[in-house]
Amino acid sequence: MLTYRSGDSLAHRLDPRTKLLAQAAFAAAAFAHTTPSGLAWLTVVALAFLAAGRLSPVRAIRGYLPALPFLVAAPLLSVVEVDVSPGSGAWAVGIDPAAAFEPLLASYRVLLILLVSAVYLHATPVRDTRAAIQRLVPGRVGRLLGVGVALVFRFLPLLRSDLGRIREASNARLGSERPLRARMQLVASAGIRRAFGRADRLALALRARCFAWNPTLPELRFERIDAVGLLVALALAGATLLGP
């Protein structure tokens, strides 16, 4: 699983806002230049990003392992062509390897985007991301999003272990033999009861501690080093606009 690791690499020292912009610009450039030469250049940029965060490509790919079957399946399936003749209703299956070319490029583009977002996750503490969201999205909407993000991080492990215990208890009582619908319903209704219980206690605690719209967040400051990051983001954005 990809999570934040403390460090002092270039990517660690950049402001989270710079990193978010660079990521978005990279994705835009990858969509604008899905050609062999464009993707070759973007591969170099992605490798540079990985180096800037001192993250090994293998670890980055391992973080997105569950995505790989889908990235492989799309080009594979587009090789197969089914022709149905409208008159007789007869159909024939053909193989056309050339049809896989474009989907293959598209899959590779998504892989590059995933690698770049792995660098962000590796090099950015959650508190900084929350602060960046609250500064980038203006007004109360941004603050609400920031609070929501922080609470999801706080409660995800608790609810995961709640659900784990529910399933364990059910399996111990041969719940695994029951039909799928009954098993889903059991996990969901017990999960909802826990979630509502926790939400009510959380709301009470927030009210008791004067939950305010203006919390104290870590300071974010653009340093000189961010100029480099912003230039890279700008170059990628420029490349997007230039077209193929």
Binding site: A73, G148, V152, M184, A188, A199
Partner: protein, 193 residues
């Protein structure tokens, strides 16, 4: 550098309760990504995320159900491992899963609007089964329509191929999830709401 200097501005009473519930439902939807059941027709197992979307719409209504799933997307982008199979980051929001993920807040809001209308929340237990199922069917259509179109655009394949790879093996289980959601609403879990 930016710091806050103005005086403390308290969040309103009912907003606090709703924010807490929305955030907990977002976390629950994320935790549902880890509850997987073996899929007899695909190597990729069935997870319960979509059930989280259904329940957020039903229990939180159109506004806070949508907000809850927006929390889910923002937290996932910030690095919480809550997207399918425990992935996270900005990548999934623009990758082949983009259509599915962005459809979640829309579907939750649509289900909430169908079940509750726009004039405040009804007790989900008093809502008729037809309305519940209708709302969830509409939500399912939105999720798979946007998901398939998103997959086709990002992966550069036709709509039929996109549906075959990303949706076909999972659609039948949505009926089971809808039935499970109705069961949840009719069970005593709803009494806690």
């Amino acid at each position: 550098m930016s710091t806050e200097t103005e005086s403390v501005e308290l969040v309103g009473e009912d907003v606090v309760g709703n924010v807490a519930r929305a955030a907990l439902f977002a976390a629950l939807t994320g935790a549902f990504a880890y509850v997987s059941f073996p899929n007899p027709i695909s190597p990729v197992p069935v997870s319960l995320q979509v059930l989280g979307v259904f329940l957020a719409g039903i229990f939180l209504g159109p506004v806070w159900g949508g907000v809850s799933l927006a929390f889910y997307l923002a937290a996932g982008a910030a690095g919480a491992p809550i997207f399918s199979a425990g992935s996270a980051g900005f990548g999934p929001l623009v990758g082949y899963t983009a259509g599915y993920l962005w459809s979640y807040p829309i579907a939750a809001a649509l289900i909430g609007a169908t079940v509750h209308g726009f004039d405040g929340l009804d007790d989900p237990e008093t809502v008729g089964t037809v309305r519940l199922v209708g709302g969830m069917l509409a939500g399912t259509v939105v999720i798979y329509a946007l998901g398939t179109v998103g997959f086709a655009l990002v992966q550069n394949v036709g709509l039929v191929e996109a549906f075959a790879v990303s949706a076909l093996a999972f659609v039948p289980f949505e009926a089971v999830k809808i039935a499970a959601a109705v069961g949840v609403v009719r069970s005593d879990a709803a009494a806690a709401a």
